[in-house]
Amino acid sequence: MVALALGSVALAGSGGLLPPTPHSPNAHRITDAYIFVAVFTGIIFVGVEGALIAFVVRYRRGKRARTAEGPQIHGATRLEILWTILPAVVLAAIGTFVFYELPGIANAPKASAADSTSITVEGRQFYWMFHYPNGAVSIGTMIAPANEVVNETVVSADNDVNHSWWIPNLGGKMDAIPGRENHTWFEAPVGTYIARCSELCGIQHAAMIAHVHVVPRAQYEAFIANRKANETGIVLGKEEFDYVCSSCHRLNKTYVGPALAANPLLHDEKGITSILRNGVGAMPAVASDWSDAQIQALIAYTKTIPVPKQSANGG
């Protein structure tokens, strides 16, 4: 247990004393601001709790009579002014530091068009979908170029709910709200980062996790070109199945929704299209804004799922 705890301290960076290890300039500045505030609040914490403990010990009743009065001091205007002004000064310092750091957090650094990428992040019940500049799409996994500014436009479909896009290592959250377009950014080295939904969005909110693969520019270009060239490809179809369908369904057992393997709809193109576009019962219209190619990709993938024999084994 101890070894586990220590091991994970190393993994988690600060062990939860600071925000997650930053890998993007905005996340760095947020951590800096956090530390700045922590210094002041730390001093206030020690001062207040220290005074509380000191007074409670020093002025305890001890052997005095229960009703013996302390000196009847009703106040002191100078002290009142002091402890009004002093916190105001501290808060002004914190505010000033926040405004000093703010531009580097809220605004992406100015970059020439060649050094920046724009990716639209769309939150849906219960998956993340990424739209790339050339029209390519990926689901559940975002591919982004390394060491350059990635501008994200965060949206949610009109018939969906609020989500919140958060890559803890790469900066703060940005809500995906139907009918609104929000913007955030990061600039990260090569690596894989986890992203979570942080606004309650329904029954599978906890499962709404995505991965962000930050890769060299060439690899990113190749990925989106390949995706564009295979719009109806089985690779996208598998991604759709793994991140969209699987957030509520399993092949051979009931999960949030019913098991799919034995479901005739799985191999019924019209039925599957209709249910994806319009939803049914408790199932939301998960693919209401997909392109026809995206639907085709999923159908292509479902065709590879074998129709089960009498008894299904395993899940």
């Binding site: 947020i30 009065e69 929000n182 029954i203």
Partner: protein, 547 residues
């Protein structure tokens, strides 16, 4: 003195109605106060049970203690219960029992309206809990119930019953607030000027004015939600031109003042308890009173600090950061004045005082974590994570609930005529104090590690598991502490030491009445000469050689 020859009005002899009917039909502010307090304690047990279920589910990752759907219902009803059925109404309960006694009145201004407030409150609570049995289960969109999740995507009747319940509770609180305002403004004893009122009364009158100011907004928001769900309107539905963000503005315009509605009377309790057990007057009476009003004013200008991640313009974010930080100043003033009251005192550690000192210790943590959340770029990391869960529990549990227990132990002898057991009381305090910190401190760390709130499961391995396990163990310790309170209440109900009028040698007028007070409260209401009328009275008796 002409002032003291007021004739006691004939009071209806309640006892002739029989024990049960008496309580059902009572309009006596003390009985209504007691009904409020008991009902709230029952809801506290219900909301606490839901909390234990939540912590049991989160003890380990991939736990199957509850289903996902029931988890969201538990989270929603836990939050709604603690806020709308426990903290706000139990403070109204204290207010009901204490306001007339503390200001030297014989009842509230509108006794029957008072009874209506209570019975509406009960009805609202029943509707909320009955919604577990509704088609589709109880509401599951969180206590904030954000649209469009709550308006378009939750089909069951639970959400509609949640709206109905809150509508009823809103009416209850509104009527109660009017009653407090009219009573406090008009019915104070002779000599009780505004600066001679107990600080708890300052807190209650501020609480009532805030409720009057913000409850209509909540009602409007609930009504729009109800219409969106059932009448085909589209206030919050972007597919037809509505704005989900409107709901958040409306909700938090009510919701943030609500936080102060829950904390100001709690602070009022602390301002009553600390001077009595430190044997000193409150340090800076005017500063404490004005900081109450200041907090109330600024609390209505900070609502969008709950919405820093929705993509507001930087100018608005900045405005709401600055106003949120300004609130820290009057809050600090209160804490410093309580500390200065302890300074050079003669401090006794009876159970009410332990809770009050515990309040200062943990509320300070909640206040300081609030500064991180007010700085909006930092909030972009922290919002909607367990850091926020930790923060609100440090403020509302470590703050409001600790103060409520301080008040219960302090006024119990006045309300019921018997003292609670001190040894059990201290065990109760220490177990809850310990369990509270063990439960909620690690949640700050979980939030910083990246654990979102309102999730039924989380990543396997590492510190997430360790901190969640610690947190769950802490919650069981707290639950055990609460059971000791139940034992204490049962044990002392028949055998507890009888309290005289004034077991703590306290300073305010309620201790002038007998314990429990008669239906008409006082035989004679003395002329009020300061904010500490009972101390003045004791000194006069000493001077006359009668004490």
């Amino acid at each position: 003195m002409a002032a003291n020859t007021e004739v006691v009005q004939p009071f209806r002899a309640d006892w002739r109605l029989g024990r049960f009917t008496t309580w059902l039909t009572t309009t006596d502010h003390k009985r209504i106060g007691i009904l409020y307090i008991w009902t709230c304690l029952i809801f506290f047990a219900a909301g606490g049970t839901l909390a234990i279920l939540i912590r049991s589910q989160l003890m380990k990752p991939h736990e199957h203690f509850m289903t996902r759907g029931s988890y969201n219902e538990a989270v929603t009803i836990h939050g709604t219960t603690m806020i709308f059925l426990v903290i706000v109404p139990i403070l109204a309960g204290f207010g009901n029992f204490l306001v007339p006694l503390m200001i030297g009145a014989r009842d509230m201004a509108f006794p029957r309206l008072n009874a209506l407030s209570y019975w509406f409150f009960v009805l609202g609570g029943i509707v909320l809990y009955a919604s577990f049995f509704a088609k589709g289960g109880a509401a599951a969109a969180g206590w904030t119930s954000y649209a469009p999740l709550s308006t378009v995507h939750l089909a069951g009747r639970g959400e509609d019953l949640w709206i109905l319940s809150l509508h009823i509770l809103t009416l209850s609180s509104f009527a109660g607030a009017i009653n407090f305002i009219v009573t406090i403004h008009n019915m104070r004893a002779r000599g009780m000027t505004w600066t001679r009122m107990p600080l708890f009364i300052w807190a209650i009158v501020t609480y009532a004015w805030m409720l009057v100011a913000v409850l209509p907004t909540l009602s409007a928001g609930l009504t729009m939600m109800l219409l969106d769900r059932n009448a085909g309107t589209n206030f919050f539905n972007p597919a037809h031109g509505g704005a989900p963000l409107l709901y958040q503005h409306v909700f938090w315009f009510f919701g943030h003042p609500e936080v102060y509605i829950m904390i100001l009377p709690a602070m009022g309790i602390i301002s009553e308890v600390i001077p009595v057990f430190a044997r000193k007057p409150i340090f800076g009476y005017r500063a404490v009173a004005w900081s109450t009003v200041g907090i109330a004013f600024f609390s209505m200008l900070v609502w969008a600090h709950h919405m820093f991640a929705v993509g507001l313009p930087t100018g608005l974010d900045s405005f709401f950061m600055i106003t949120s930080m300004i609130i820290a100043i009057p809050t600090g003033v209160k804490i410093f004045n309580w500390l200065a009251t302890l300074w050079r005192g003669n401090i006794s550690f009876d159970t009410p005082m332990l809770w009050a000192i515990g309040f200062i210790a943990v509320f300070t943590v909640g206040g300081l974590s609030g500064i991180f959340l007010a700085a909006f770029p930092i909030d972009w990391q922290l919002t909607d994570t367990y850091y926020v869960v930790a923060h609100i529990h440090y403020v509302l549990f470590g703050g409001s609930i600790f103060a409520i227990f301080s008040g219960l132990y302090y006024w119990w002898p006045k309300i019921f005529g018997r003292m609670l057991d001190e040894r059990l009381g201290k065990a109760h305090f220490w177990l809850v104090f310990l369990g509270f910190n063990v439960t909620f401190f690690p949640q700050h760390l979980l939030g910083l590690l990246g654990m979102p709130r309102r999730v039924y499961t989380y990543d396997q391995g590492g510190l997430w598991e360790v901190y969640n396990m610690i947190s769950t163990i802490g919650s069981y310790v707290m639950a055990f502490g609460m059971l000791i309170f139940v034992v204490n209440v049962i044990k002392t109900s028949r055998s507890g030491r009888r309290a005289g009028n004034d077991p703590w040698s306290a300073d305010t007028l309620e201790w002038y009445a007998t314990s429990p007070p008669p239906a008409w409260n006082f035989e004679r209401i003395p002329y009020i000469t300061s904010a500490r009328p009972l101390r003045d009275w004791r000194r006069r008796l000493v001077e006359q050689g009668r004490l």
